[in-house]
């Protein structure tokens, strides 16, 4: 195992980069962009090297570095990754450069300079790495909270019309969660102090101590609420559609792609190992939230007229799947859930990116303002379709593997919930194909026609029921002469292609050959789940049933 | 008459002072009420001193008087400046700052 502190480097490099970009004199946007791209690519390289240095068969935490930070609180600046964290770091490494490239031509509102945007972006990257790499609960918490600040500014300064509202909502939601968690963190510390003599925040030490069930429940709730807000589970989700819709595309991608994963990551890394009994007892309730989210959010997604809101809601549904996988307490499902985090980051990231490209052309977020784009911009449509299929988990795309693992892994222990969640894959097909049909198919419409924007009711453009049948008998079976649109939609530019290509490649590659990632993830998950699979009772299938039925 | 009476008297004075602060408008009068409260405390101190047969109480009373005197100086200065600008010493007139 190498001695080079990859993790530290991955935190420091972007932080320094952010400082430099921020310090650049005004009007050097181009330089700022190139610099940010370079830095983020460097981080990607580091992430890859770290993965190479990581020994999947080795002990749980590797590439560790630790220095005493606040001795009075027993806080160490301790970094280290297991497979779960490592894949998230890889995801960050991939997404940030893509986002930088995707934001290249963004026009910030009110003549703000993009320099600030890229500075915040890099700072965010640094903090995100920290969150996943921290092996000290206090350190984790610090990153967890600090992470809000750059995202807050990214949404608030560079977002859409209602950005102020969205930014504050995002910050307050997360802050409330964070503060509740803070109480739990301190509580954990106090418990550890009473158990081990002197308090500690070291994850490994905390994992060892036995906590009284009652206390466990309280602490679990403290952590859970914070995480359930971050990775929005119904009913803590309403901030995400606003933030996701108002944030600049780059922000949205990182928000749902990585930031929110901290929540699900937290479930797996902190809630389960630290509070096993509480997790076991409360799992049914969590699963109710998870499955409710899957169905509820999917239906909501169908009802959206704003494309970015729609994508946000689909993410909420996906987070439901992830939570299901985690709280099913099986290695298969857990592995699937972690893989899901990565895949969702890529798939939904791609979806957000391509939606952003569409919005950049049409200038409207309303589904109803588009139609027949596929004819004018086949490449755009193709990427859109790939992203869509990935998010409805079509076999051959990366998401299929994870969703399949989650479901097949959850079924043995949680049949009822799994069956309900499986219904969600039909809904997923519905919201994706509805969106695709309304925007890409049919005759040119909306901005493609009059070049103007009209607000679209989500249903104003649904073809009449039985439209297929009746229209078929009437119309002829040849391509109808295309209406000549006044406003022509360009196909993807070279830059946009460069943005989409790697993501599409990942979608396919991870869909065809996911095993390497799985081998990276499994040991850590197995270690976490071992506590649960060992216990004799059929892991509360019965409560699962009772919960599921109501 | 026993020491208790002194204590009760002091308590009554204190109360009168406190109520005065609440009900009087003129800043000077309010301030006098506060002085009354201070002096009721003094009376209490002296009484207890007598009770315990030590002199500490009396000494403290002297301290308090000095402090009270200083307070008078400062207080009157402030109230005067207010009075001279507003031509009124009513504390109710001074409520630009609120909510």
């Amino acid at each position: 195992m190498s001695t080079f502190p990859y993790l530290l480097a991955m935190i420091v490099v972007p932080a320094v980069g952010a400082a430099v970009v921020a310090a650049l004199p005004k009007g050097r946007d181009e330089l700022a962009k190139q610099l940010s791209l370079g830095v983020s690519l460097l981080v990607l390289v580091l992430a890859v090297l770290a993965t190479v240095a990581f020994d999947a068969g080795g002990e749980r935490f590797q590439l560790t570095t630790s220095v005493a930070w606040i001795p009075d609180f027993g806080v160490d600046f301790a970094l280290g990754v297991d497979g779960i964290a490592l894949v998230m770091l890889l995801l960050i490494g991939v997404l940030v450069p893509v986002v930088v490239l995707a934001s290249w031509r963004d026009e910030p509102p009110g003549r703000r300079s993009m320099q600030a945007f890229f500075a915040w972006l890099l700072l965010l990257e640094s903090l995100m790495v920290g969150v996943f790499a921290a092996t000290d609960v206090f350190l984790f918490y610090v990153f967890f909270e600090a992470m809000l600040v750059p995202m807050y500014f990214i949404i608030g300064s560079f977002g859409g019309p209602r950005r102020q509202y969205a930014a504050v909502k995002f910050f307050l939601y997360s802050l409330v969660g964070g503060l509740v968690m803070l109480a739990a963190v301190i509580g954990l510390y106090v418990v550890s102090a009473s158990e081990l003599g002197e308090g500690t925040f070291a994850f490994d030490a905390l994992r060892q101590i036995e906590i009284d069930p009652g206390v466990q429940k309280l602490l679990f709730l403290g952590f859970f609420i914070a995480f359930a807000i971050k990775a929005p589970l119904v009913p803590f989700h309403t901030w995400l559609p606003d933030s996701g819709a108002e944030a600049p595309i780059g922000g949205s991608v990182l928000l749902v792609g990585v930031l929110d994963k901290v929540g699900t990551f937290g479930f797996l890394r902190y809630c389960l190992p630290l509070f096993p009994d509480a997790s076991r007892d409360l799992a049914p309730y969590v699963l109710v939230l998870a499955v409710a989210g899957v169905l509820y959010a999917a239906l909501l997604a169908m009802g959206q007229s704003d494309m970015k809101r729609l994508v946000s809601y689909t993410s909420i549904a996906h987070f439901g799947f992830i939570a299901l996988g985690i709280f099913a307490f099986t290695t298969e499902a857990g592995t699937g859930a972690v893989l899901y985090m990565v895949n969702h980051g890529i798939a939904t990231g791609l979806l957000f990116l391509v939606v952003g490209m569409l919005i950049a052309r049409g200038g409207s977020r309303q589904v109803g303002d588009y139609g027949g784009v596929a004819r004018q911009a086949p490449l755009l449509a193709g990427v859109f379709l790939v992203a869509g299929l990935a998010s409805l988990a079509l076999p051959g795309t990366n998401s299929f593997v994870s969703e399949f693992l989650v479901l097949i892994g959850s079924f043995p222990t949680r049949p009822v919930f799994t069956v309900l969640a499986t219904v969600g894959i039909v809904l997923a097909a519905l919201y994706v194909l509805l969106l695709y049909q309304r925007t890409m198919h049919g005759p040119p419409r909306g901005v493609l026609l009059e070049g103007g924007i009209h607000g679209g009711d989500p249903y104003d453009d649904v073809p009449p029921a039985r439209g297929g049948a009746s229209a078929a008998t009437a119309t002829v079976t040849a391509p109808a002469p295309p209406a000549v649109p006044r406003l022509r939609v360009r196909d993807l530019s070279r830059r946009e292609t460069a943005v989409a290509a790697p993501m599409v490649a990942l979608v396919i590659a991870l869909g065809v050959y996911p095993q390497p990632l799985i081998e990276l993830i499994e040991p850590a998950v197995a270690a976490t789940m071992s506590e649960f699979e060992l216990d004799p009772d059929g892991d509360g299938v019965v409560p699962a049933d009772t919960e599921g039925t109501d | 008459m026993s020491l208790t009476h002194y204590l009760v008297l002091a308590a009554i004075l204190f109360t009168i002072g406190a109520v005065g602060v609440l009900v009087r408008r003129n800043a000077i009068v309010v301030f006098m009420c506060i002085e009354l409260m201070l002096n009721s405390a003094n009376l209490t101190l002296v009484t207890f001193a007598r009770a315990s047969g030590t002199l500490d109480g009396q000494i403290m009373a002297f301290f308090v008087m000095v402090v009270a005197a200083a307070e008078v100086v400062v207080g009157l200065a402030i109230i005067m400046s207010l009075f001279r600008t507003r031509r009124s010493a009513s504390v109710d007139d001074a409520n630009l700052l609120k909510y």
């Binding site: 504050v168 910050f171 | 403290m60 301290f63």
Partner: protein, 515 residues
């Protein structure tokens, strides 16, 4: 035959320094020619405060009761004295700022001249500056340092007055908006002396109950007669009222918003920072030393007061439109947070719990951040006065990014976002409280700070996310003094947030009461 009480001048050095500077200041005021006064006064004040700071730092580790047992020079006293002296020095610098106000000073030229009179108007523009504010401030600082070291109730009372009376005066000395300033002074004075009357009466009752006013003696007595006599209880109640008033804890906070808003901003900064430290120093000493024995059940009371204070501060702050007033409510909320630290003292004889150290650290962090934020307030001006109305701050980040950034930093610190001093402080006191089993209180505190975070955020939203207004305020270029203050406070806020270890150690080691 009377023998002089023991008196170790060494231990009193900080006090002597400050009071000495104050007296010299008075003399200078009397004899030095007007034009030389300002630099001289500032110099003297700085020498006094910094001298006090240095000497108290040298005294670190000192444990003794001196001046015939009237003063306790122990870890806590020294730490708090150093804090007060340091914050005092910074406040003096704020007072000394001359380049912001067109008339070169934030203080009225002649307090005696009625506001709005012709004379007043001509003085308004004249470059004449008044300097009695410096000796007054020095007395106040001295009083505060005495306050935290007082080992018997009488000294505490005297110190209380010594620190209060100058404050009453200087809060009435604003150069702009004199009416508000004077009103603030009157309110502060009347309510302040009202409160000290309570304190005094409490003192008398305690004296009656225990026959002594020496904290240690009271402790023994209180411990002896379990539950304590009614007199003692009433006495304690009244003492608490007096102290809570100074610490602007709800429900004794009513004066705070008005006075904070009316007083000259540098004075507000001084009050907000130093008075809070002094008051809590006294509260800690009274509760831990005199009534620290486990028989004494003031904890439920403080528990309740803390909740009230946090909630009132946080909720009332939501709808404020004046920044100074908003910060007043924030200081009320923070008083509540501090009380959670006070509760976390583990019932130990000399505060063996982590509460004492945590509270002292919080005081330091809070004081610095508050000073800093008020310093920023002095920069943003419209016309000749400061633009304290929230709406004026819209889009400030575009007009002057640096100011906005600094402001944002302090706001985040007050909101308790990690990597700022505010978070470390909050963490420390909350840990102490939970340690002591007060976790429900902590949960309330956390929710309250979430609410409070909203109004801090609102300022950031305005500064960064709103488009600047056409008739926006001008951002003055700070002179050297304010620059120093800002530099120090910013640095401290970041350092205490990122690497608080050293200072936390200091506070922990200093968490000792003798007496």
């Amino acid at each position: 035959m009377i023998q002089a009480p023991d008196l170790s001048l060494g231990a009193l050095a900080p006090l002597l320094f400050v009071f000495g500077a104050a007296c010299v200041g008075v003399l200078v005021e009397a004899f030095a020619p007007r034009e030389t006064r300002h630099p001289v006064q500032v110099a003297i004040a700085l020498v006094g405060t910094l001298g006090g700071l240095v000497t108290s730092l040298l005294l670190a580790g000192e444990r003794q009761v001196t001046a015939g047992g009237a003063l306790a020079v122990d870890g806590a006293a020294v730490f708090l004295q150093a804090t007060i002296a340091g914050l005092g020095a910074l406040s003096i610098l704020l007072f000394a700022e001359r380049s912001l106000d067109p008339a070169r000073s934030a203080f009225v030229a002649a307090a005696a001249v009625p506001a709005g009179s012709p004379r007043d108007r001509e003085l308004m523009t004249a470059h004449r500056v008044q300097t009695e504010v410096y000796p007054l401030t020095m007395f106040a600082i001295g009083g505060m340092m005495l306050f935290v070291a007082a080992n018997d109730l009488l000294v505490m009372f005297v110190a209380l007055e010594v620190l209060s009376l100058p404050l009453y005066l200087i809060s009435g000395l604003a150069r702009r908006r004199r009416l508000l300033s004077q009103e603030a002074a009157v309110k502060y004075f009347l309510l302040g002396s009202f409160a000290s009357a309570f304190f005094l009466y409490g003192l008398a009752l305690v004296y009656g109950a225990t026959g002594s006013i020496r904290l240690s003696a009271i402790r023994q007595d209180a411990a002896a007669e379990t539950g304590g006599g009614v007199l003692l209880v009433l006495g304690l109640a009244l003492l608490i009222v007096g102290l809570m008033f100074k610490a602007s804890v709800a429900p004794f906070h009513a004066w705070t918003p008005d006075v904070y808003q009316g007083a000259p901003t540098p004075v507000t900064a001084f009050m907000a920072a130093c008075t809070k430290v002094a008051a809590f120093g006294a509260i800690l000493r009274l509760l831990y030393v005199a009534f620290g024995t486990s028989e004494w059940t003031w904890r439920p009371l403080v528990y309740g007061i803390a909740i009230v204070s946090m909630v009132v501060g946080a909720v009332l702050g939501l709808t404020q439109t004046d920044l100074k007033r908003m910060l007043a409510y924030s200081s009320i909320a923070h008083a509540g947070f501090l009380l959670t630290g006070v509760l976390g003292f583990g019932g130990g004889a000399d505060g063996t719990g982590s509460g004492l150290g945590a509270t002292m650290f919080y005081l330091l962090a809070y004081g610095l951040a508050t000073l800093g934020i008020f310093a920023v307030l002095t920069l943003v001006r419209e016309g000749d006065g400061e633009a304290t109305h929230l709406s004026k701050w819209a889009g400030l980040a575009r007009r002057s990014p640096l100011t906005a950034a600094v402001m944002a930093l302090f706001l985040l610190a007050l909101a308790g976002i990690p990597l700022t001093s505010g978070f470390t402080g909050k963490f420390a006191v909350f840990r102490a409280a939970i340690d002591d089993g007060a976790w429900p209180l902590v949960v309330v505190a956390l929710l309250a700070s979430a609410v409070a975070a909203f109004f801090y955020l609102r300022v950031i939203v305005l500064m960064y996310f709103s488009e600047p207004a056409a008739d926006g305020p001008t951002v003055g270029v700070p002179g050297l003094p304010t620059t120093i203050v800002l530099a120090v406070t910013v640095a401290a806020t970041v350092v205490l947030g990122v690497v608080p270890g050293a200072v936390l150690d200091l506070a922990e080691e200093a968490a000792i009461f003798v007496g």
